[in-house]
């Protein structure tokens, strides 16, 4: 690729990306604050159970232990570790930040849970991402190239089908056919590589349809662009023209979409993880809401935000690389 085209936008964008990075921190604070307040809206706290503690004293102890008896603003400051307290001797102490304490799983910490759950969600998510791309891009490409032919219609139909049939349907169906009827794959759990196949297919197929549709639209738009005609008029070879110059632009919508898509995939899917009983993060996010495990919910929301912001930043880098016309100021 022409070196000037690469270096120039990169230089111009350094400041831009630095600014974006600096902006991330206040953004995360706002996200955490919003999440922190919103999880408290539903009635019922983490310690409301069928069995009441033997005395109201125990309940007070529990609330006090986890500082749930304090005003919400103070709880938030404590959460981010911005509270200094006086002890009995009048000495000021920094109160430990509360973000790491799970209110539900008191023997684990939020970071521990993320540390064990994230690799599972990452594995499944990355594999599903690869599957979605490996199926979606060629399918979309082919459909665009064979516009109006049966390949186009078939591709569109398949893409639409995979978008319309959610994991909620695909996952149990796969388990029923491949797991129970044919006994080819284990129906659930996380014990061997074979356990990853069905979740990856269930997740990946769903996204491959979207990728295919984006790819097809992108390709069709590019093929109609004037610079393609101009390049052809200058006598550029077909391979170079379409694969290097055409595809590079046609794939942009897919690249843009892959940021949020990967963020969704990497942080886990509740449905697929539930059906296949995988110890990923998706189940924790939903259950933490049911359990009023406030710190856990906020922690996972923050993780999602960080992954999303990071991926969007990477997507912008890739954009700048793929399309020299894009400049970030």
């Amino acid at each position: 690729m022409p070196s000037a085209g690469w270096i120039a936008p990169a230089r111009a964008s350094n400041m831009y990306f630095l600014k974006r990075l600096a902006f991330t921190i206040p953004l995360l604070l706002v996200v955490s604050l919003l999440a922190f307040v919103m999880v408290r809206i539903p009635k019922g706290g983490p310690f409301d159970r069928e069995r009441k503690p033997a005395s109201p004293e125990i309940e007070r102890n529990l609330l006090a232990k986890y500082h749930l008896d304090e005003p919400v603003w103070k709880q938030y400051l404590r959460y981010i570790g911005a509270v200094w307290e006086r002890d009995d001797q009048g000495q000021w102490h920094h109160a430990p930040a509360g973000f790491n304490t799970s209110l539900r799983y008191r023997n684990h910490s939020v970071l521990d849970i993320i540390k064990t759950g994230l690799p599972v969600s990452l594995t499944i998510g990355l594999l599903a991402f690869c599957l979605a791309m490996a199926v979606g891009i060629p399918l979309g490409f082919l459909a665009a190239a064979k516009r109006g032919h049966w390949q186009d219609h078939a591709g569109n139909f398949l893409a639409l089908l995979s978008v319309c049939v959610p994991g909620l349907v695909i996952a149990p169906l796969l388990a029923l056919v491949l797991g129970i009827k044919w006994r080819l794959l284990p129906v659930a759990l996380w014990e061997s590589p074979a356990n990853a196949v069905m979740p990856v297919v269930a997740l990946g197929l769903f996204y491959s349809g979207r990728v295919a549709r984006l790819m097809r639209e992108g390709m069709l738009t590019v093929l109609q662009a004037e610079f393609i005609t101009a390049a052809r008029a200058k006598g550029l070879g077909d391979t170079q023209l379409l694969f290097r110059h055409g595809l590079r632009l046609a794939i942009l919508p897919v690249v843009s979409y892959s940021g949020p898509m990967l963020a969704d995939l990497l942080t886990g899917s509740f449905i697929v993880e539930s059906v296949f009983q995988l110890p990923g993060l998706g189940v924790f996010l939903v259950n933490s809401l049911y359990n009023s495990d406030y710190t856990m919910t906020v922690g996972l929301v923050l993780l999602y935000a960080i992954v999303l912001l990071g991926l969007n930043l990477i997507v912008d880098f890739i954009h700048a690389w793929l399309d020299p016309r894009i400049k970030y100021e």
């Binding site: 009441k52 232990k65 388990a175």
Partner: protein, 558 residues
């Protein structure tokens, strides 16, 4: 633009480009696949027994746990002075091999067996028990089940912070092998309580070293038949035989996996494909398939100490009027509920304490009598349901098969009250946390409830509705009832004690009716008797893991 020409050219290139892309993605896909499979997916040999246990344990700390699914795991890891017989659930010798009880029933002297050691080799002493019990009572531990120790002298005051000196609590080590326990009053079921998880012995040094995360310590000293190998949330709890357990010779299996499974369909799939050997909760089966499953030879149902009922908020009109409460109770056809909704052999209940409770025969409460119900409602000022305020029935929707039955029962009740009494109610489905919070705050009209007995005695049910008990949650207070329950609990004579409880229960379910029992739970286990043995139906639905064995393969060598 010469579109057709370009298109055919594009098509050619597209095929090539597409192929290149596909092969590129394919490489990426394959390499990532390989990396992740090698790196992230665990490879573990299958356990000797795999049990589908229900909800993910909140904790495995004996002082913290509250749920049956947690207690079943914890009872394998931490044991108390006594343990329950797997068939009869009668408490027998465990870490204590003998004890003396003073004639007035107030002082228990336990002798710790000489071969009682932690799985790490240190001896288990009487001081360990003192530490464990005081820890459960310590306000800082904030144990939900600390009430199980309130029968000890001064325990309640220590737990609520009224006294600070733990030496005043009625548990002392006389020497490393001897534990002296003083009670407030004679307690008929104290040996049962000694087998209860809250009273199990826990490793002091580990807890002091690691604090809240002590269960993650490695090695984790265990006092029960099994040691914790791994506890991965939403994945599994893996247990292995503790060779230093005092009764290790009778522990049947080497490795047991306990799975938390959220979806009933997944649980059943695991069982049907042989990935799991036991499902031991009815709520873990899909309701719509239950009819087909319940008649199979691998399905085992039995009665146990659990009651499904609903509460009135007696502080709200019109439920402050006992005639209204009785009318609503009399208009419920419980047979219809067990026949149409629950279907697993549950028995209709007109009293709270289940039949089969030790040393107790519960009195009958209100049956199905729509005629009388209408009469009472008319007396209360609502003839034919006229002017009866529209009210709400609050219940929870939760994961698992149980959620559906809560809703189906609500619909049945709605219909019965409409047909029999001409009154209307709305169904109000809330999250389970919201249900409990609203019950505690008395922010409901009528709400669904259930109770599982902690130990085999009427008090575990009847104690709940005394005026000051946190589980009362109806706003109902009755001095006579309080007195009867209190008197029964300090009574040593069994027959006299039963009479007192019967009088109390009659007030609860026949006269005052702050609650209406609907049916008694039925226990349910799914396992193939040709493969697995040693899971016995019993009244506490407790199935000690050390008794479970496999009959389809020779016992594994150690």
């Amino acid at each position: 633009m010469n579109w057709p020409r370009l298109r055919s050219a594009a098509a050619r290139q597209a095929r090539r480009g597409g192929l290149r892309l596909a092969s590129l993605s394919g490489w990426l896909f394959a390499s990532l696949f390989f990396i992740s499979l090698c790196g992230c997916v665990p490879h573990e040999p299958r356990a000797d027994l795999v049990i589908v246990n229900g909800a993910e344990p909140e904790s495995l700390d004996p002082a913290i746990i509250t749920g049956l699914s947690e207690m079943r795991i914890v009872s394998a890891m931490f044991e108390g002075l006594t343990r329950l017989d797997p068939k009869t659930v009668v408490p027998g010798p465990s870490l204590s091999d003998r004890w003396e009880i003073s004639p007035d029933g107030l002082v228990y002297t336990f002798h710790i067996r000489t071969n009682a050691v932690w799985s790490t080799g240190e001896p288990i002493t009487a001081e360990d028990f003192v530490y464990s019990w005081i820890r459960a009572l310590d306000p800082a531990t904030a144990s939900d089940y600390a009430g199980q120790l309130y029968y000890l002298k001064n325990a309640e005051d220590f737990n609520s912070g009224k006294i600070k000196d733990s030496n005043l609590v009625g548990v002392h080590a006389l020497d490393p092998q001897t534990l002296r326990v003083e009670l407030n009053h004679a307690t008929a079921f104290f040996l049962d309580l000694c087998a209860f998880q809250t009273l199990a012995v826990v490793p002091r040094r580990t807890i002091e070293k690691y604090g809240d995360h002590w269960l993650m310590a490695n090695p984790l000293p265990s006092s029960g038949a099994y040691e914790l190998v791994a506890w991965r949330l939403n994945d599994k709890v893996r247990l292995k035989k503790n060779p230093r357990y005092w009764d290790a010779a009778n522990t049947q299996l080497n490795v047991i996996d306990v799975l938390p499974v959220g979806l009933p369909n997944t649980a059943l799939s695991l069982y049907e494909t042989g990935a799991a050997d036991v499902i031991w909760d009815k709520d873990l089966l899909p309701t719509e398939q239950f009819d087909a499953i319940k008649n199979r030879p691998d399905s085992h149902t039995f009665t146990y100490l659990g009651t499904y009922f609903f509460r009135f908020n007696v502080t709200r009109k019109p439920f402050d009027d006992v005639r209204v409460r009785r009318a609503l109770a009399l208009a419920v056809d419980r047979d219809r509920l067990t026949r149409r909704v629950t279907k697993a052999g549950e028995l209709p209940a007109d009293h709270l304490t289940p039949d089969g409770t030790a040393n107790y025969h519960p009195p009958h409460g209100l049956g199905y009598d729509p005629e009388l119900a209408r009469k009472l409602l008319a007396e209360a000022g609502y003839p034919g349901g006229k002017n009866f305020p529209r009210f709400q029935y609050m219940f929870n929707g939760a994961a698992g098969g149980a959620a559906k039955s809560h809703e189906m029962i609500a619909v049945e009740l709605q219909q019965m009250w409409r047909e029999n009494l001409g009154i209307e109610m709305d169904l109000q489905q809330v999250e389970v946390k919201v249900l409990y919070a609203n019950q505690s705050r008395l922010d409901y009209d009528v709400s669904r409830s259930s109770w599982i007995g902690d130990y085999n005695d009427a008090n575990t049910f009847l104690g709940m509705f005394t005026s000051t008990d946190g589980n009362n949650r109806t706003g109902w207070k009755n001095a006579r009832y309080d007195d009867l329950v209190h008197e029964a609990n300090i009574e040593i004579d069994k027959a006299r004690r039963e009479q007192l409880f019967q009088q109390a229960e009659k007030i609860l379910v026949a006269d005052e009716v702050p609650i209406v029992p609907l049916y008694f739970y039925s226990g349910f286990n799914l396992f193939d008797p040709k493969k697995v043995d040693g899971i016995y139906p019993n009244i506490l639905d407790q199935h000690p893991m050390n008794a479970i064995r496999r009959v389809d393969r020779p016992r594994p060598r150690e």
